[in-house]
């Protein structure tokens, strides 16, 4: 059993390490689980597992990627049955047309106006509706701020796969938001989407 001062040093070192990444971790947990209550549980479980690992070895090369990998594994273990399978999303067609439509308006910065009309919750809901492989990649990049290399470590996949999942994920997300805006009449008059 560690001496008290050793234990305190260990706790302090772990606390310092986690504090550097806690905002990204909580945002990541929110993204994994989709709600605050589960995010709290997932964050707690992640840190508990991480602390156990940290006690064994403090030589962690990439702490952020390490923490996210633990979080993802904890998430998979807990919610494995509910994991969404990679969907055969058929969104290959029509993206250019939709982008063109938004840019055909005479507004300045039409892209900002387009995305600015959504509530935060609508954006998050759309993101959560992506198949896991895309959602994870986009969230780890855009919300948690991980590098492609770190995402590759967390998701256990090659860099090229990370790159394609991010680009594909954002495109699907754009389609979903566009279609949502179209269904609810959120697109400004003059836009005539398919």
């Amino acid at each position: 059993m560690p001496h008290t001062s050793d234990k305190e040093n260990l706790q302090a070192a772990f606390t310092a390490l986690v504090r550097q990444h806690q905002d990204a971790l909580f945002a990541g947990a929110m993204q994994f689980t989709g709600n605050r209550a589960d995010a709290e549980d997932l964050l707690q479980e992640t840190l508990m597992r991480a602390y156990v690992g940290f006690k064994r070895s403090q030589d962690i090369e990439k702490p952020r990627a390490w923490l996210f990998k633990i979080m993802r594994n904890a998430y998979i273990n807990r919610y494995h049955k509910n994991r969404r399978q990679p969907a055969g999303v058929s969104y290959d067609e029509g993206l250019d047309h939709k982008v063109d439509e938004i840019f055909s308006r005479s507004d300045e910065e039409p892209q900002d106006k387009f995305f600015g009309q959504f509530l935060d919750s609508e954006i998050v809901t759309a993101l959560n509706s992506l198949p896991d492989q895309f959602r994870e990649a986009v969230a780890l990049c855009d919300i948690s701020g991980l590098s492609y290399e770190d995402i590759s470590n967390v998701l256990d996949c090659p860099l090229g796969t990370v790159r394609s999942r991010i680009s594909r994920g954002r495109e699907i997300l754009f389609h979903k938001l566009y279609d949502y805006a179209r269904e609810r009449g959120l697109l400004p008059k003059g836009d005539k989407g398919k």
Partner: protein, 260 residues
């Protein structure tokens, strides 16, 4: 370069993940391609919007979780049971029964005796359950007084829940559902001859307490003891906060008066 390749590279570029050579090739294509220029603007705006829409980081929450895991307290101390934001909405009666059980155990240990270690809490709890020592005598009069006071104070009837739990008999108490959706159960008991007030709060906006980490079975929570109070927090679906104080009618009324 084809547009399809350029589009994938555009994402990597806006993420700062593109090497010089690839960026040069990409720039050459985008300059000449109106479609890819629009696509680039759209995807950059999407990235920014997603980042902005992500849940705001709740640093106090992350701090609290960190404290729970390491046992290192931020030293904030007892911030006050009546503090704004303490109460938020929730599920209740089943939690209340378990809460009363936990309260009784923790009260028995942590108010009467010096602060215990986590291991001793778990062992003691187990032993007390086995021995059937957790038998609470309801202070019926106290509950009735509180109920009548609250009904006259609020002008509305209160529900007396019928809560039972193995080896514990709870005959009364006052359940109050706050307009915010928070639920508050207030009751007076005697525990081993000592009258105590137990106040259990649960709801979606309740914040986790601070103090020391305890583990009971699969649950991890926080327990904080101070002059005349014990505050216990754990999660049971939602956050549950339990305040145990020596019975004090005036204090109990103050609790209800503070949750308007």
């Amino acid at each position: 370069m084809e547009c399809r390749e350029a589009k994938e590279l555009l994402h990597a570029d806006c993420d700062g993940e593109l090497g010089d050579a690839e960026r040069q090739r990409l720039t050459g294509h985008v300059r000449k391609c109106r479609g890819c220029t629009a696509y680039e603007k759209m995807m950059k705006a999407l990235k920014s919007r997603v980042r902005a829409a992500a849940a705001p980081v709740d640093l106090p929450l992350a701090e609290a979780v960190l404290e729970r895991v390491t046992g290192v307290s931020g030293g904030g101390g007892y911030r006050g049971f009546f503090a704004k934001g303490f109460f938020r909405p929730g599920v209740f009666q089943a939690v209340a029964a378990a809460a009363v059980l936990a309260c009784a155990v923790f009260f028995g240990i942590s108010l009467v005796k010096p602060a215990p270690t986590m291991a001793s809490i778990v062992v003691m709890r187990h032993l007390m359950r086995q021995e059937g020592r957790l038998v609470l005598d309801t202070h019926a009069n106290c509950c009735k007084d509180l109920q009548e006071w609250f009904e006259s104070h609020s002008g509305r009837p209160v529900h007396i829940p019928d809560i039972s739990y193995p080896r514990i008999r709870v005959d009364g108490g006052t359940l109050y559902r706050h307009g915010t959706g928070n639920s508050i159960f207030l009751a007076a008991y005697s525990l081993e001859g000592q009258p105590v007030t137990v106040c259990v709060c649960t709801g979606p906006n309740i914040t986790f307490g601070s103090g020391k980490v305890f583990t009971a079975g699969q649950r991890t929570g926080m327990i904080e003891t101070g002059q005349g109070y014990t505050l216990i927090s754990w999660r049971s679906g939602q956050i549950v906060n339990v305040l145990i104080t020596p019975f004090d009618e005036a204090k109990s009324k103050e609790i209800f008066a503070s949750i308007k």
